[in-house]
Symmetry: C2
Amino acid sequence: MSSTLQTIRFGPHRILTSQIFFTSKLSYGLVNLKPIARGHVLVVPKRLVPRFADLTPDEVSDLFLSTQTIGRVIEKHFLGEALTMAIQDGPAAGQTVPHCHVHIIPRRFRDWANNDDIYAELDHTKVDNEARTPRSEEDMAAEADQLRPLFDQYQDC
Amino acid sequence: MSSTLQTIRFGPHRILTSQIFFTSKLSYGLVNLKPIARGHVLVVPKRLVPRFADLTPDEVSDLFLSTQTIGRVIEKHFLGEALTMAIQDGPAAGQTVPHCHVHIIPRRFRDWANNDDIYAELDHTKVDNEARTPRSEEDMAAEADQLRPLFDQYQDC
């Protein structure tokens, strides 16, 4: 996959394809601009729809088969002991990018002082309040480059 | 569906079928013993597996097509403005029942003082600490009775 100046849509944003580490027929796996933990990645349907209910059955299946594959690989790669998987489905649930997506976060015992403080980190208000510094394009591309070979056997296209 | 003394397995627990409001080919929709919000329900694969990675492709698709259907109906019924959907996939992610399941929680703006405090509520330590009182079987059966007709058109079996 060429990464030079090619982009995909993620809500109103344009994401460089250098940040994509996984592609299925109907979904992408993206590294994250502001990860809340190492290995926090996103799974995004190729078609831009805001809500989970907007997805077709084929898109739902592809999104979560992709999530299963990515979760399995990411957990192992980042030495996780478990995974948190979540959809913030609508602004009232903390969704900030109006393009349906699944968060996958590798977890370890005691990774947060209180196990589920992780979820507050997903909150847009918290992200905004803490002004978490976005990573550089180079950092994200480097992570995607590292992950992409792990998925060679799973790529649909 | 007869609800008298019939049970299904949910991890090590036996769940009365009176608490089931939705059935697809491979999944159930259950009301919740300790909901953290009105309309907080669970979607559970019929086959007992602890982790999301253990599900077959057909089970993954069925689980999330069921989640989509249930989410759409539950959000409307409980006057939600959004949904939180989450899998605590493994004990290190807060999973307390070792049987893979999806949480669906209708959300509204300002339903928690801080939008994503909801997630801390999903934490088993918090649940345990607060000693949230479990609902009675009668309460749960009454809610399932109320919900079941909303899914008549979706039942696979």
